[in-house]
């Protein structure tokens, strides 16, 4: 039941719209109710071959040898694929945006880092024959110690999960082993606060569980092209990924998708399309690679688990003076999209509240679990759970009604947010008022009278006079390469570097950092003048711009670049 409360912000809205606010029939619903909507598997091919993967029974193991001879001889088996058959058997999804280092094989060839990781793929005439042959592939495993907990994974001496990131932490922007936010000075504010409220919050991984499992069918087409019907949610992303790992120009692929049997984020990882196309390339026949339900649940990348520590400094009257976050995202064995989830997450901190001092260190941690990926608001919903649970805890500490506490601290139009943007179109106060009304909760007079349109800006709209900076978690000697780099035709592969872990920056490395970074390397504990944020944007230095072009473009879309 939807209720429109049009009395709010009426003058900000034009209600003379043709579509918005009026029901309209979905353009695809006739196909849905007649069973004719063409999902990827609703395309029939004569002579279709079926692909099933051989998967690791171990959380973490080195592969000594893969013997496919017996499987190859099984009835109906046309071909067995291993990592050697994949032209470029190392990829990271966001390399198409120049974000991160290639870290994950399509078919593991030297080690596996999670239970269910594929090491070979059987191509057979029937699915049953492919299943039978899977059991005949012999893998000589050297089982290694594994780690399943984020904080254990980043302790010294923990098993190295992902060989590319030897400290089990993603490297942000080639510079830090976590994503940072520094705004004001939380430690100074804690010292002034009447209450310190601390909490630890743990979320579980969540499987998207679409009713249609992930899959793709690829077939040779005319003109030396391959058609690929896929369940992907991200057609061009999957196209680009397939082109990259198969080292084939994308104009030789004809991707058809858009009819997806539920995705919720679980259909962006682009592992089915390249395997199905590779099968079609190597056999010359149509190939289908789809997960069964058990695979969807076991190896389908979930919303990653998150662990959050929150520490608040609170005044007696309920105003939150400072909030400090330490977050650990469980990325599983590889990066996929967790690195990006954290960028979103940190951009969302400290929640919809005006808090003058905010500090966050958020880590993308590798463990020997199924890699995590996108799911509805990933990076946001998990930390929102932590924040809102913590708000209730704060309300208890200051003996306030939790809704009054939220209204007291809520963003108002014109306030400065911790990521240095002005708050606009705020509506939390009004939402709280309606919720309280519906739940029969009596609010304080001040809460009832509050409005998102009043009392914002002014002092609340200014940047902190002083922001405490530090070099915690700085990493040097990292080159994240650049697949999608426009300068240079081939791009430059990532340099496989020995990561020193926590190294204090040298003067030279600090000097290379771009001027735009909010937390300036080499400027620890110096005051950032409030006026710096209002300077007009400066063009990046020519050489620095070239060197960091990819990462800068990603920063721009994720809101890190100052505008």
């Amino acid at each position: 039941m939807i209720e429109f409360r049009k009395e709010f912000f009426a003058d900000e809205r034009d209600d003379n719209l043709n579509e918005i606010g009026k029901p309209t029939r979905r353009q695809d619903i006739l196909g849905h109710v007649t069973g004719r909507s063409p999902f990827f598997d609703d395309h029939l091919f004569d002579g279709l071959l079926h692909i099933r993967c051989v998967r690791s029974p171990h959380h973490h193991a080195r592969i000594r040898r893969i013997d496919t001879a017996e499987a190859q001889a099984m009835p109906g088996v046309v071909r067995v694929l291993t990592g050697r058959d994949v032209p470029r058997n190392l990829n990271t999804l966001l390399s198409l945006l120049d974000f991160g280092i290639d870290d994950e094989p399509l078919l593991a060839d030297s080690k596996v880092a999670y239970k269910g990781e594929p090491v070979a793929a059987i191509i057979a005439e029937t699915e049953a024959q492919a299943r039978a042959a899977v059991t005949k592939v012999r893998v000589d495993w050297e089982v290694r110690p594994h780690v399943l907990d984020v904080e254990e994974a980043i302790r010294p001496g923990a098993p190295v999960v992902c060989e590319v990131y030897k400290t089990n932490k993603f490297i942000y922007h080639g510079k830090y082993d976590h994503q940072k936010m520094r705004y004001g000075d939380v430690e100074a504010a804690f010292a002034r606060a009447d209450h310190i409220v601390e909490g630890r919050y743990q979320m579980s991984p969540i499987e998207q569980a679409p009713i249609e499992t992930c899959g793709a069918i690829a077939a040779p087409e005319t003109n030396d092209r391959y058609v690929c019907y896929t369940s992907t949610q991200a057609l061009f992303f999957s196209l680009g990924t397939a082109a990259k790992v198969l080292t084939t120009p994308s104009n030789r692929f004809h991707f058809i998708g858009g009819t997806v049997g539920g995705g919720f984020g679980g259909k962006v990882d682009s592992v089915h399309e390249p395997i199905a196309i590779l099968g079609a390339m190597l056999t010359g026949r149509p190939c289908k690679f789809a997960w069964d339900r058990e695979e969807e649940m076991q190896v389908g990348a979930p919303r990653g688990a998150e662990r959050w520590y929150i520490k608040d400094g609170v005044a007696r009257d309920g105003r939150i003076l400072a909030r400090k976050f330490t977050g650990y995202f469980d990325s599983g064995a590889y990066t996929r999209l967790s690195s990006y989830a954290i960028i979103k997450s940190v951009g969302h901190l400290p929640g919809p509240y005006t808090i003058p001092n905010v500090h966050a260190d958020v880590y993308c941690v590798y463990t020997n679990r199924t890699p995590a990926t996108a799911m509805r608001g990933f990076g946001i919903t998990g930390v929102d759970f932590a924040i809102e649970a913590h708000m209730d805890k704060v309300a208890e500490a200051v003996a306030m009604n939790p809704i009054d506490l939220r209204i007291l601290n809520a963003y108002r139009d014109g306030d400065m947010k911790a990521h240095r943007r002005e708050a606009k179109n705020c509506a939390l106060i009004e939402c709280c008022q309606v919720v309280a009304d519906k739940a029969g909760i009596a609010l304080q007079a001040a809460s009832r009278a509050a409005s998102s349109l009043r009392d914002g800006g002014g002092e609340r709209g200014r940047l902190p006079a002083h922001t405490a900076l530090d070099q915690h978690g700085v990493v040097t000697g990292i080159d994240t390469g650049g697949y999608a780099r426009k300068t240079g035709a081939q791009g430059r592969p990532a340099r496989h570097i020995e990561m020193p872990g926590y190294t204090m920056p040298t003067a030279a490395s600090a000097g290379r950092a771009p001027a735009q970074s909010p937390a300036r390397p080499g400027a620890a504990s110096t005051a950032a003048s409030p006026s710096t944020a209002t300077e007009p944007p400066r063009p990046a230095p020519a050489d620095g711009g070239n060197r960091r072009q990819g990462a800068m473009r990603f920063s721009a879309i994720s809101g890190l670049r100052r505008r």
């Binding site: 049953a128 024959q129 299943r131 039978a132 059991t135 069964d292 058990e294």
Partner: protein, 268 residues
């Protein structure tokens, strides 16, 4: 991989066709999911024997053919005491397919009907064995090697209130058991005589709660007795940890659900 499917007109012929490489299929709800997942068996054996679908009164009980479906149990006028159990199993499609015989062999966490049948003291007639029917408890214990079931003979409770069943699941209305519990508490002069209480999903097979039965026997079903029964609910049980619940959780809630069932029975 399945190489052949053999369909026999009588159960006796099907029984003779069985062997170590064969798997018997009734409703298919358990066997076909294994076949879809690549079960190692080579032959599927079926029977179209019409006797398998019979439900008939015999003495003070009912003989239910092994091929009778949950939907048939739920709809049959002589099986009203079992209807709530049958309706608690699967969704409508599963109930149109799943059979009474198959439920006796359903692995954890399935087999809710077997829990109820065990509490009622059902006996099992096996294919090709003319002698007396075997107690269901024996069949459940040896279910890897008992052979094919022809029918289940279920004593009807003397009063409807003597029998109760409860299933706890996370999803409603259709969900797999976190646990299920059935109680048959015949009363003589208000006192329980010959109590049988059986838990499902609290061990590899449906398990009788002997300690609970000892507490109940000879007692009125009053608050004090129910409280004592709940205290010993998990004695002798071996609940597993699975995707639905941990062993710890099952132990914690078993007494609570038993108490709810017994209180409901005491009220009726």
């Amino acid at each position: 991989m399945i190489q052949s499917v053999e369909t026999h007109p009588t159960l006796a012929e099907a029984q003779r066709a069985m062997g170590s490489d064969a798997i018997f299929m009734a409703g298919g709800t358990l066997v076909m999911r294994d076949v879809n997942a690549g079960v190692p068996a080579r032959r599927i054996v079926r029977s179209t024997d019409p006797v398998l679908a019979h439900i008939r009164l015999s003495g003070d009980g009912v003989a239910i053919g092994a091929g009778v479906t949950m939907a048939m149990v739920a709809a049959h006028r002589d099986l009203t005491f079992l209807a709530p159990v049958a309706r608690a199993i699967g969704g409508p499609q599963i109930r149109n397919m799943a059979t009474v015989g198959g439920n006796l062999f359903a692995p954890h966490p399935y087999g809710d009907l077997a829990v109820a049948l065990l509490a009622l003291g059902a006996r099992v007639a096996l294919a090709g064995q003319s002698g007396a029917a075997r107690p269901l408890a024996d069949v459940v214990r040896d279910r890897g090697r008992v052979g094919l079931v022809a029918s289940v003979q279920v004593p009807r409770p003397q009063a409807p209130a003597d029998f109760g069943f409860l299933k706890a699941s996370r999803i409603k209305p259709k969900g797999v058991s976190v646990l299920s519990v059935a109680a048959h508490l015949p009363r003589q002069g208000g006192r329980i005589r010959g109590a049988r209480v059986v838990f499902g999903a609290m061990g590899p097979t449906p398990l009788q709660a002997i300690a609970v039965e000892r507490v109940l026997d000879g007692q009125n079903l009053d608050a004090a007795t129910i409280a004592r029964a709940a205290q010993v609910a998990v004695d002798g049980l071996d609940p597993p940890t699975d995707a639905l619940a941990t062993a710890w959780y099952r132990r914690e809630v078993a007494g609570v659900h038993l108490k709810r069932l017994l209180e409901r029975m005491a009220r009726s």
